[in-house]
């Protein structure tokens, strides 16, 4: 164990704490319905849903990135806020396998 001067800590050292096993449910993103608007990313209290590039498309002669929401299950606590705020209902909360009887 390292004991630092005045208990100072390094940035983002909280990443050592994987909180993905806290919840009973996990969000599943329906990529068909996801428009890549980013609302879920803006609200997620655990910084574990973000937009990632899945491809490109041509709109009015310009190349545009196609983005979809992607969940980081290492940290997701299963609060369900992303599903609640999604304007296209593209996120569903699903019971984790281990909780299924």
């Amino acid at each position: 164990m390292k004991i630092t001067l005045g208990a100072v800590s390094k940035p983002y050292s909280a990443l050592k704490m994987k909180t993905g096993d806290w919840g009973t449910h996990w969000p599943k993103v329906d990529e068909e319905l996801c428009t890549g608007c980013g609302t879920c990313e803006m609200f997620c209290p655990d910084m574990c849903i973000e937009l990632v590039k899945v491809g490109e498309e041509e709109v009015n002669g310009k190349i545009k990135e196609i983005k979809k929401a992607k969940v980081n299950y290492d940290y997701c606590k299963g609060c369900g806020l992303c599903a609640e705020v999604c304007p296209t209902k593209a996120i569903k909360m699903e019971l984790k396998e281990i909780y299924k009887v």
Binding site: M1, I3, L5, G6, A7, V8, S9, K10, P11, S13
Partner: protein, 393 residues
């Protein structure tokens, strides 16, 4: 070097200016106020460089402002006493734990109730366990000299602790004394600019003030104790360097007179030491084997030095300026614990001059003589107390 007759608060303020603090913050309280008034005047006249001088909304606020400033990498200064110090106390414990080398002057004053603006050591004694270095000075030259030394010790990377320079309120702060005022060049050569090993900066975004669960809290207390203990050596070195630089040798963690063959040792801290020294000198002329031990550093406590000088002493007289209610005087408490098993001397402690009560030379002489002549019991006594009747109303 210029010798001038100045008042204590000016001697302190002038030395602070020479140390080039980046942030000074205080709240007025008698008898400290003139220290920061002098600094405020220097600030108003543009004599403090790029330093920021802030009058806070309370001593609690002042100390808190310095926590933020010190963590950001600024050399800081404040002065307070009495109620103001007690109001700061939560912050000082915090600053010590965060290892912030804030330097402050305590113009020692009694605590309420009853309200008293006059001198004793009850205020700084209440901060004994906070992890703050405490040095008591005897006169205004020592106060002046101690400021640059305080920064050098507090900011040493093996120490990194807050530092209290304790000087008696009124008795020193308001006294006119000739003081050799330091030159800027002397201080610049002695004290390097403050360059902390860590600080708040966006270039390296560290998290300060973390909480520690039981699995690691104790280790932080261990390293604080180690830092305090390491400070002893750092202080000795800095004091020596100062003596060589200025020709003024104030001693180490303690300073002694006539202790080589002393049978009776008299122990005290602060301005009363000057008076006691006179009495000791007179008694020596009368053939009494009396010596003087001035405790300069109360935290860290000079355990090893005291064991060394008290080895062959038969009786120890302690003049206290505070009381640990329900026990005895705080200096005697620590002295006895330091000497236990190392010295068989009997310890007699006398609380004198509480709340600014005068301490006449005769009283000092009588206390010591009574101990020599066996007229007084071991343990704790109040001296200089009037006859009174304790009533409800």
């Amino acid at each position: 070097m210029v010798r001038k007759v100045v008042r204590g608060f000016y001697a302190v303020a002038y030395a602070v200016k020479l140390c080039k603090p980046a942030v000074i913050c205080a709240y007025p309280i008698t008898p400290q106020t003139e220290i920061v008034e002098n600094l405020a005047a220097m600030y108003a006249n543009g004599e403090l460089g790029n330093c920021r001088y802030i009058t806070a909304e309370s001593e609690f606020g002042a100390a808190s402002i310095l926590v933020g400033a010190s963590a950001t990498g600024a050399r800081t200064f404040t002065a307070t006493c009495s109620q103001g110090l007690i109001l700061m106390s939560e912050v000082l414990w915090n600053a010590a734990g965060m290892r912030l080398p804030i330097v402050m002057v305590i113009a020692n004053r009694a605590l309420s109730a009853p309200l008293s603006i006059w001198n004793d050591h009850q205020d700084s004694m209440a901060m004994r366990d906070a992890g703050v270095i405490q040095v008591y000075v005897e006169n205004n030259q020592e106060a002046h000299d101690m400021i640059p030394q305080a920064y050098k010790i507090a900011e040493n990377r093996s120490v990194m602790l807050p530092f209290m320079v304790c000087m008696d309120g009124y008795k020193l702060t308001h006294a006119y004394e000739p003081v050799d005022l330091l030159e800027q060049e002397t201080v610049d050569n002695f004290l390097p600019p403050y360059d902390p090993p860590i600080k708040l900066t966006t270039k390296d975004p560290l998290t300060f003030g973390c909480y520690a669960p039981p699995h690691c809290y104790m280790e932080f207390r261990v390293v604080m104790q180690r830092a305090m203990m390491r400070a002893k050596k750092v202080m000795e070195d800095v004091f020596k360097e100062w003596a060589e630089l200025t020709g003024r040798n104030w001693g180490g963690l303690i300073a002694t007179d006539y202790m080589d063959d002393a049978e009776i040792a008299v122990v005290a801290m602060g301005s009363v030491v000057g008076l006691i020294r006179e009495v000791v000198e007179e008694m020596r002329k009368e053939g009494k084997k009396v010596g003087l031990v001035k405790i300069r550093s109360f935290r860290p406590f000079p355990t090893e030095d005291l064991r060394k000088v008290m080895k062959d002493v038969e009786k120890i007289v302690v003049f206290e300026r505070a009381v640990s209610f329900g026990h005895e005087g705080p200096v005697a408490i620590d002295l006895k614990s330091a000497l236990f098993g190392h010295c068989n001397a009997k310890v007699y402690s006398f609380a004198v001059g509480l709340g600014g009560r005068d301490i006449p030379k005769d009283l000092i002489r009588r206390c010591i003589n009574n101990v020599i002549e066996g007229k007084v019991d071991e343990g704790f006594h109040f001296e200089g107390v009037k006859e009174f009747e304790e009533v409800i109303i």
